[in-house]
Symmetry: C2
Subunit: 243 residues, 2 copies
DNA sequence: ATATTTATTGACTCACGGTCAAAACTGACC
DNA sequence: GGTCAGTTTTGACCGTGAGTCAATAAATAT
């Protein structure tokens, strides 16, 4: 039994897996799931198709892994957001900010993510990838939950109104839904949406007001908060317009 | 040139198209998009595969048509809902009710609908089907919009706060998002969601409160409203639990 | 009854996801 | 440095299934 080569092999394997995912993401984003050809992918990475199947069980498995990688990135942003120093609702806003920043940075991510949630896609992925995806979902959720609990402790949310998990879910729901609605080609026109991000954030504000999360939108200068969030946590977010 | 036979032909064509869609829906719902085989579909309808292609451009085209049929059904429910006699927020609630009723009646619809919105699927459908889909989306949206405008007229929504289209979009967003979140396998457990429908309606309530849509949740007995909605508009909705 | 147009077919192609026996490579042992 | 068991990698091959189109059947016109 030789250890050094084994370790090297593992490292090389990890590198190759990353190589596969990098190219898979590129193909997936440019041609969609249907346009992702495993023959082309094999050619891109300069390994054979068989080798790809040493890493992943199916095409769907690869797509889910790509999605999970992006989701991990999103979780990281969320965790950074929770570290914002401020009122509880400002911290919640920082998470909303993170989410929008992610959307701007990864404009095509939602398409793939939504697709993978369709039963017939989800079912064809491996347990391993499914678990990894749920782990990252959990991380996102926990970031939210942490801020919600802090809000209860600070008395910024009315005690006993709703269980905290439900509040986190509501926040996630409005965000996901807004992103989706913003992407529907025809409705954007129909509803006169000019700036999708603005809509998302707007809807988040409405929900938090509905939850009576203090301070309410009208009682605080959240534009200033946004500027602080950007300056202190997400200096790379160049999309935020002043005012 | 013969007219009578032409009319009959058109009728027969429409019947056959419906036949295709009926069977396509069955296969789609039971096996998912991947499991929908055009050979099997052809066998089901007792016509050849070529004939299917006289009606639809691609597999995606068929799937979109199935989706649109369901969406048309949903639009019908929405329009019925707008006819509820009551306060503006009660009418909005009736639409929320309709949406939940639809979800209960068509539990797998959202999967397909979400999939069709992915770029690579949408792109493979025909213009004709895309337009039909957007037409039905528009009908849903307009039902919502109608109730929102009525709310402004009645003074139940604070004037000048937000443009009505944006309010409609927010309502649609929170609903769509809640449905999606409710369906994610792992998160349901993580967040302790027991009744997905309850969550959807809850989130809708929170948003409408956030919009200051009078009367607020705490100022009105909306359980009674639900009972009336069911009795007067949706007697077939057996899922509504009393209380 | 026959010609012409229209409707329908299903065998065929081709692309692609997935497999696996064979080839290439590795490193342990003499 | 040569041999060989074990491991890794390969790419030709398979089955499936979407989409096509020349051939056929049915309907209609003459």
């Amino acid at each position: 039994m030789s250890n050094p080569p084994t370790l090297r092999k593992e490292r090389e394997r990890a590198v190759r897996e990353e190589l596969i995912l990098t190219h898979a993401r590129r193909l997936l984003l440019s041609n969609g799931f249907q346009g992702l050809s495993l023959d082309e992918l094999a050619r891109s990475i300069e390994y054979s198709k068989g080798t790809i199947y040493l890493h992943f069980d199916s095409k769907e498995d690869i797509a889910l892994a790509v999605t999970t990688e992006a989701l991990r990135e999103r979780s990281n942003l969320f965790e950074r957001a929770t570290r914002f120093q401020g009122l509880s609702r400002e911290r919640a806003r920082a998470i909303g900010f993170a989410c929008c920043h992610f959307m701007v940075t990864n404009p095509d991510y939602f398409n793939i993510d939504m697709m993978m949630k369709s039963q017939s896609f989800w079912d064809r992925a491996s347990d391993k990838q499914r678990e990894a995806y749920l782990t990252q979902s959990g991380r996102c959720f926990r970031s939210l939950q942490q801020v919600v609990l802090a809000a209860f402790e600070a008395g910024d949310l009315p005690a006993g109104s709703l269980p905290p998990e439900q509040i986190s879910m509501a926040m996630a729901s409005v965000t996901v839904g807004s992103h989706i609605m913003a992407e529907i080609p025809g409705l954007k026109m129909l509803a006169g949406i000019e700036d999708p991000i603005k809509m998302v954030r707007n809807n988040q504000d409405l929900l938090l007001d509905g939850l009576q999360w203090k301070p309410l939108l009208r009682d605080h200068d959240y534009n200033a908060t946004d500027q602080r969030i950007r300056a202190e946590i997400f200096p790379e977010a160049t999309w935020l317009k002043p005012g």
